[in-house]
Each structure stands twice: as C-alpha cells, then as structure tokens.
C-alpha cells in the first residue's frame, strides 16, 4: 500500500495514495463543506463533478484553488482549508449559487432538510452581494414527482442516479451556461417519458427542485368524510425509518408508535402491508414452484428465471426498457395492490360496505407506488384498489400536523385480520428479503419438510448483485438478487443473451431495497443510515413468533374463506396482473 504524507491546516496527515483531500481532512477532524458531492459506498453511487466549487481549498504552489473532492493527496502537499482567500471564495461562490435560487425557503417542501439551506447557514451567509436574473423553467407535476427546476443548482446528483446508478436515462443536463439545467428529453413532463418513478433523483436532490407529490390533504379529506371508511396499510420499510423524522437514531423500529399515531390521526383500521406480503409469497412462491416443476418435467417453453414483481419502479423499468421480456416476471401483483384488491372485496364484504365507500390509503417508502396505485388496471369501474399512496415523509408530516408527540406515543397493535403478519412479510423491506421470504415458503411447499433454519444469511447483504445456490432437498436452486436498476439491467441482459443460470431473481429498484426508497427520510449521503434500517428490519423478523408466510393464520383463513387456493381462479382474478409494452414507438 502506497502512503502519502501531507499537511492539512498545519496538521500532518498520512493517508493511502489515491485518497482525496476531502477524505484525508476528515481523518484529522477537518470537515470541508461540500454541496454537489455525494458518495454512497456499496451503492455504486458517486457524484463528484467538481462543479459547485464549494469544497475548494488552497494548495501551496498551485495557482488556483483546488476542489478537495476531486484532488488527490500528494506527498508533501500543504493544504489550507480556511485561509481568508478560501473562505472568501467559498462564500462568494455560495452567494452566486443563492443568487440564482428562489428565496422561497419558508414555503419550500425541503425547508429544514435542504442541503443548500444548511450550507448557507453554516457559512453564515447573511447578504447576497451579487444579484441578477434568475433561471426560470416550467415546473412538472407528474403523479409521483414534482420538478421545480428553478431550484436546481446543477449538482448533477439526479443525473448520476438516473443514468449511472439506475441506467434509466430519463434525465440529462440540457442547454449550456446559465441556461443549463437537468431535464428529460425535450423538457417533457416525466409522465410522458420512460421515467420509472423510482424516486432516486428525489432521494439525492440537495434542494427542493425534486420532491414527491404531496397527497396528505387527500387523506385528510377522506378521513373527515363521514360516508367513508378509511383504512391504512404500512409498508415494512416505513417502520424502520419513520423515527428519523422525529430525531430518533436511524434503525430505530417504531412499529407500535406508528400504529398508535395512525389511529390518532383518524384511520378507522390500521393494517399492515406485511400481511399482503405474506399473501404475495404464497402466490409468487406457488407460481415459482409451478414453473419450476414444469421445467423439471422437461417443458422447454416455460419461462425461467422467474423475476419478482413487487417493486413498481422495476415493473416500469422492464415495461419501458425490456418489453420483449414482459412474460418473465411473476404475474403476482405487488403487496400494496394485493392489499387493495383484498380490502375492496373480502374486507369490504366483512364490513358490509360498498367498495366505493372504503378508502384504502398506503404508507410507502416509495414514489413509484403513487404511480402504481393510479394504474388503470388496478381499478374497478374507476374506483382504484388503493386510493391514495403517501410516503414515509408525508406520514411524518401528517403526524406533526396532528400535534402528536411521536416519541412519547404508546406502542399499539395492528388491527385484524389484515394486520397480522410474519417475519417473512417484514423482510420485504430490504434487498434480499423478498426472495428469502419466498424461499422459506417454497422450500417447505416443495419438499414437504420443515426448515431447520429460517435465516438465509447467504441471501443478505448490500452488494449490488448477489447470488446463492440453495439445496431444495437435493435439488439445487440458483437464486439471483439485484438492487438498483443498473444491476437489474445486467441480469436482464444475461437472460436476454441466454446466459442466465438462475431459477429465480429478486429485483428491487432502489439501492438497498425499499429501505432506500425515494419516499424515505433523506439520508443526505450517509450510507450507514441505510445499513441501520436494514439491520432493524432483520431484527423485527427475528423477533416474530411466526416467520414463514404460509403459517400466517389469517392468510390461511383468507384462502379458506375467500380465495380458495394460491394461483387458483379467484387469485388470478384479484391478485395477478399482466404487463404492457411501453417502449416508445417511432412512427414514420
């Protein structure tokens, strides 16, 4: 290992060759401010265009100031991070950035969570000496994401997320100079593009330029409507992150407090998406075993590997980018939509109300869920199975609006029947979780034997693409896992080329899975936040008495009373879907 020695702010520093000045400074307690820079270790996300010039430092012997995020340490380098020259330059550059930014902080959705705002505060900017024309772009209100590009500071993080990490290619920098901004082709609105609504652009945006569409008011309208029964489902990843919005450590599980808060907000029933996740496993697991046994019987037509289909951004991705493969993913609907379908039939029947009078709200870590809920095929006579989908962040806002002291709320339990879930349902919230849950059930259904261990540690982790071969009582099953759509693309290209050896593949669009979803509390570039959320998810699983979906008593009851059998007639009608070719056709 090559070592370099340098001095930063008069302190000697020894680092490995290749270390940037920014990283080296951190080792001696010097925190150089950054703005465009963002690096998520293990998530293959690195954005350092060296564009904002906020992190500049003075390097002795160099004519100009150097961006510390892009400058590698050299032997004998003498660095000053806060000379008068540096501080003046940094503040002036910051003033310039602010001079082209709307002063709408008080009413901006990002206020209090904005990197630009907190940097301005840290630098003590009290006056902007350089004022002039501000950039104006048309704003874009898609069903999931709002783009107000007047607030864009050209950090390019969204572009990196959309192109390098997700390989979706919806966004690009356009124009040049003062007019440059990040936008879809021809500045179309997102819903006319190939956007998957994964929301990773929103997750990394430092300002309020990219935010989710706020649906909290719609929820409140439903709650105060006396004719409506309003029920809510909460996705597994929400409970592992919601606490962050109330100052709790990342990874603090707040399931009980969340249920309690939802009741106080006024929901008539508080249910768990985990219940529907268990249901998904029965449907998807059965489908997998069906395809597998056909394959083993010599059927050459059967589509393998089977791909999971719970992630709506992933569904959008293959509909836009790989429509020729739309027969491969499982036809099982996502847990959100299964929940909606069951709620509007089975549960509405139990309550003896019309489906139109039942309002299903979902709390999701996700922006694509907003889009998924609005898909035409998930509605009956115009009445959607899931009426409103809100994010973890929006729920936090509703809790604050309801004047609840969240951290002091008592722990409460979900309602029955759709609030009962197993550990398998919980781990849907992280990469590797869906397939682990599926394996727990598929193994027992296939072999007829009970698993002696339910923890499949070989499927867990944060690596972008993982694989494992599991022994199904003599039958080797090859499992693949990808999170991040760029990684998914690699596995899809393999399948397309006939090179894939997998029987089943789990895909989640967001890095880390749902815990890193576009609707979660902002991680501000701190990847440990995601890891702590993941740990919390596995903790909740380990603490559950029932950890296999097919053992969920309420799921069993649901099949007995209503559905019949997994992948049976009724299931097909309610719990399965089909996919569409959404590739843009060029007409001549």
């Amino acid at each position: 290992m090559d070592i370099v020695k340098l001095t930063i702010d008069n302190t000697p520093v020894v680092v490995e060759k290749g270390t940037t000045v920014l990283e080296a400074a951190k080792t001696v307690g010097v925190d150089i401010p950054t703005l465009c820079y963002m690096k998520l270790d293990d998530m293959e996300f690195e954005n350092k265009p060296g564009g904002c010039r906020v992190c500049v430092v003075e390097v002795e012997g160099r004519r100009n100031l150097a961006p510390s995020c892009k400058t590698e340490c050299e032997d004998g380098m003498v660095v000053n991070t806060h000379s008068v020259r540096v501080v003046n330059a940094r503040r002036t550059v910051m003033e310039l950035i602010l001079s082209d930014h709307p002063f709408e902080c008080l009413v901006c959705a990002k206020s209090g969570k904005c990197d630009l705002q907190s940097l301005a505060q840290d630098l003590g900017i009290r006056e902007i000496h350089y004022q002039g024309e501000k950039s104006h772009y048309k704003s874009d209100h898609s069903p999931a994401i709002i783009r107000e590009m007047d607030k864009c500071i050209m950090c390019r993080r969204c572009e990196t997320a959309c192109n390098d990490v997700q390989t979706v290619g919806t966004l690009s920098a356009i124009y040049r100079g003062f007019n440059s901004v990040v936008a879809p082709a021809f500045e179309m609105d997102l819903d006319h593009t190939n956007c998957t609504f994964c929301g990773q652009c929103v997750a990394v945006c430092p300002t309020g330029a990219l935010i989710e569409r706020d649906h909290t008011w719609k929820v409140m309208d439903a709650i105060i409507d006396p004719k409506k029964t309003v029920i809510v489902q909460t996705a597994p990843a929400v409970r592992a992150a919601l606490g962050e919005e109330f100052g709790l450590e990342p990874g603090t599980l707040v399931t009980g407090k969340m249920v309690s808060a939802l009741r106080k907000i006024g929901f008539d029933y508080v249910f768990d998406t985990d219940f529907a996740a268990d249901l998904t496993i029965l449907e998807e697991g059965t489908e997998l075993l069906g395809r597998l046994s056909k394959f083993l019987a010599g059927d050459k037509e059967v589509k393998l590997p089977i791909l999971t289909s719970c992630c709506p951004a992933w569904v959008n991705f293959f509909e836009h980018h790989f429509p020729e493969m739309k027969e491969i993913p499982s036809t099982a609907k996502s847990p959100q939509q299964m929940f909606g379908a069951i709620a509007k039939t089975y549960f509405a029947d139990q309550l003896k109300i019309k489906r139109e009078d039942l309002v299903v709200v979902s709390v999701m870590p996700c922006l694509a869920k907003k889009y998924e809920a609005s898909r035409d095929e998930f509605a009956v006579n115009g009445d959607p199975d899931v009426n409103i989908s809100i994010t973890t962040r929006e729920l936090a806002q509703m809790i604050k609006n309801a004047n609840l002291k969240f951290t002091e709320l008592p722990d409460d339990d979900f309602d029955r029947p759709m609030g009962e879930s197993t550990g398998a349902g919980v781990i849907f919230g992280t990469t590797g979780g869906v397939i682990e849950a599926a394996v727990r059930t598929a193994y027992e259904l296939h072999t007829g034997k009970e698993l002696d261990r339910v923890d499949f540690k070989e499927l867990r982790g944060m690596e972008g693409i993982r694989s494992a071969t599991l022994d199904f009582d003599g039958l080797p099953i090859n499992i693949g896992i990808a999170h991040g759509l760029g990684n998914a693309r690699k596995l899809l290209e393999d399948i397309k080329a006939g090179k894939s050896q997998f029987h089943a593949i789990e895909i989640m669009a967001c890095p880390g899975g749902c815990i890193g979803g576009g609707g979660q509390p902002y991680h501000h570039g701190d990847v440990t936040v995601l890891k702590k959320r993941q740990k919390a998810i596995y903790e909740e699983d380990a603490g559950k008495t029932i950890r296999k979906s097919h053992e969920n008593p309420y799921i069993k009851k649901l099949y007995e009373e209503f559905l019949g059998e997994p992948c049976g007639h009724k299931s097909h009608e309610l719990l399965h879907t089909s996919y569409f070719d959404k590739k843009k056709k060029i007409e001549i």
Binding site: P49, G50, G51, C52, R53, V54, V56, N64, L65, P67, K70, T71, E72, R85, N88, A89, T92, V93, L96, I97, S99, D100, H129, Y130, Q131, G132, E133, I153, M154, A173, Y175, R176, G177, F178, N179, S180
Partner: protein, 448 residues
Amino acid sequence: MTPEEVIDEIKRSGLRGRGGGGFPTGLKWELTRKVKAEQKYVVCNADEGDPGAFMDRSILEGDPHTVLEAMAINGYCTEASKGLIYIRAEYPLAIERLKIAIDQAREYGLLGDDIFGTGFSFDIELRYGAGAFVCGEETALIHSMEGLRGEPTVKPPFPSESGYKGAPTNVNNVETYASVPVILLKGADWFSSIGTEKSKGTKVFALAGKVNNVGLVEVPMGTTLREVIFDIGGGIKGGKKFKAVQTGGPSGGCLTEKHLDIPIDYDNLIASGSMMGSGGMIVMDEDDCMVSVAKFYLDFTVEESCGKCAPCRIGNKRLYEMLDTITQGKGTVEDLSKLRNLANVIKDTSLCGLGQTSPNPVLSTMDNFYDEYLAHVKDHKCPSGQCKALMSYIIKEDACVGCTLCARVCPVDAISGEKKMPHVIDQSICIKCGACFEKCKFDAIFIE
C-alpha cells in the same frame, strides 16, 4: 531518428503549445510516451474558437499536409496508431482540403498500415465540432469527440494519462503541429535561434480591428506590439489614436500604450495581465469604450460557458450584468470593488481554463482604464461616447437648416420641426441609433 531522439529534438527546440497555454511541446509528448497502454491517440485541436483568430484555418486550408505529418511523427513518438482531428464545422473549406490531404497521404503510403515498411502504422480521422468554444479546452474536446456534451473535467488526470476513451492522448493545436516538421527538417538549433529566451520560434497573430492592414502576421517571438501594430499593421485606421490592443481572445486582456514596446512572448504577456492565447490581436482606437469592450467579451463567455461549475455559470453572468449596469449609467463606485472581487473569485475557483481566464478582460481593463470605469459610475459619462444610455443626440439650433433629412431617417419619429426651421429630438423617444447623426450634412447634430 528514434522516438526519443525526436522528442529530444522538439524539447531542445523550445517549442511551446501555440493554442494558448504555452506548455512545452516536447515535454507533453514525452509524458504521453511514458504512459504504458495498448492504445494511444494523437489529437489535433482544430476547434479554433477565439473570435478574431484564424491562423489555424489558414494552415489547414493552405498546407494540411504539415499537420498530418506532425501527427504521424507524434504517433511514432508516443506509440499511437490513431490520429483524430477535431475541426470546427464552420470551416467547410478546411474540412474539404483535409479530406483530400488525408486521401493523398494514404495513396502515397504516408498514412496507413506499415508505413514505408517500417512496421509503424498510423491513420487519421476527422471529428467535427458543433459550435462550442469550450471544446477548445482539451478535456471538453475529448468529451465532445466521445459524443458527449463538451463539458471539461478536473485535471489531473491529464489527457496524456487518460484521454480519448480513457487512453493516453496527446493533444496539440494546429499551429503547434505545423511547427514540428520544420523543426525536424532544419534542426532544433535553427528553431531556437529565433525568438526570446523562453519563447522560441515564430508566432502567427491575427491582426484585426482598427488598424489599416488586417490579416495574419507571422513574426519572431520577441517582436514588440508597436512593430506589429504600426509597422506591419500600418497604424490606426483613419489616423485615430491608438487606445488598446486585446490579445489572447476572450481569455486575454487589453494592453495599452505602455505595453507597446514589450517584446511579445508567453511570459511577458502574462506578466502584463494578458496572454498569448491562440494569437488573436484586436486593435482598438480612441472611440472604443473599454467598459463596453469588457462587456462584449463577457457576453461571449456567458454564451459559451458550459454551465458545469457554479462560478463560471453564474459568476460570469453576474459580471456581465454588473458591466451592463455600469454602461447604463446605473453603477456605483462600490460596484467596482464588487466587480473586482467577483472577477478574482471566478478566476480562482472555476473548473477549467475558460472560467479561469474569462474575467481577464474585466481585470485588465480595470487595471489599465480605471478612469473610464470611474467616469461611468461617478459622472455617468462614457468618455468614448459609445454607451448609448449615457449619451444624447442634440441638434444645434444655429447649425440646423431644417432640411428634414434627419426626421425622415429617424426610425422612431423622434425628430420634429417645420421645414427650413431648426428641428428638435425628443429624448424620451430617441433610441440613439445614430442615423440622424450620420445623415446630417451640416454637422448640426452632436453627441453629449
């Protein structure tokens, strides 16, 4: 000659990059040679974007073979087998002639596989620019050749380590390459006998503006500005007074009377607050307002900034706006110190050479013509009478014969008056186009 001998010859000749930076050419070649790689590239920067400079075009149209030859020599030295010429699409004739020259060279076996049985193979392709000044910056140029937006990246790594398609790449401009064959033909000693201590050989300047003789001028390094402007250029047009000469294009600065006798070379120009650039030389006379000149260059930079880094993207825009305010007569003395601070910060923090030099026209005019700036902000006067907002056209009552010509040419009907009676200009309507001033046969209109 071995590759080492060639590089040594170039190094001894003292040739420095003619594209603006003045980096020693031999050293650049050596750096590219030293990097080990399967594939390397030789790139010729023919994206001559400095407005007012066209020496590269004249070389490419006049003698494209020298450039091809030099690129092949570079390929021989750096062990590259592929050359690329990045040329502006605005130069159709140069493109045409380059294509012919490349075909001819292939025909004669000067390009292609196993050239003259030496085992050395080299071929050249053309890549087109598409109207972006920033692509003259070598990393931006490389990105543009890769089919990307022409945005520069932070150096290091330099192209000699990681350039086109990530491979080591030697980038020189047209004029630099064109100097190579003659150095090898006549020897480093001959070349280095011309010029000054640190700048060897000759340099082509594009002389333009308010001089009698305009065009390309090739002079030995060390020639003074006075010789170029007054001896070769034949002095100022219309017998007017010399005021300033802008060298180095939009990145350069304005030099004045006191700089006229400095021998022109890379280092002297930088020491005087300007730069060699690619050799543009625009002469200005007493009628030119230096604040407006700075504003003109900033307008160019604002237009050509790629937008990647904040100081260049927003800072230059603000510089332009402040200069505009000053030329409108709305500036203050405090604005001048803000202007200087902003210019210095943009220089100090911008990502690439474009932003690092874009404030030069402002700083150099402030250094040399501070009085003019003061006149604009304190007295709200433009001493050269160029700033429209600060002047009025007035009809001298006693000189006006009432011929009505001025009223007829006025595009906005701001002039009124009876035939054979003195006319008047309504200042609230006048757009200061100057049509009346130019048409008046009786010198009855003056500018205040």
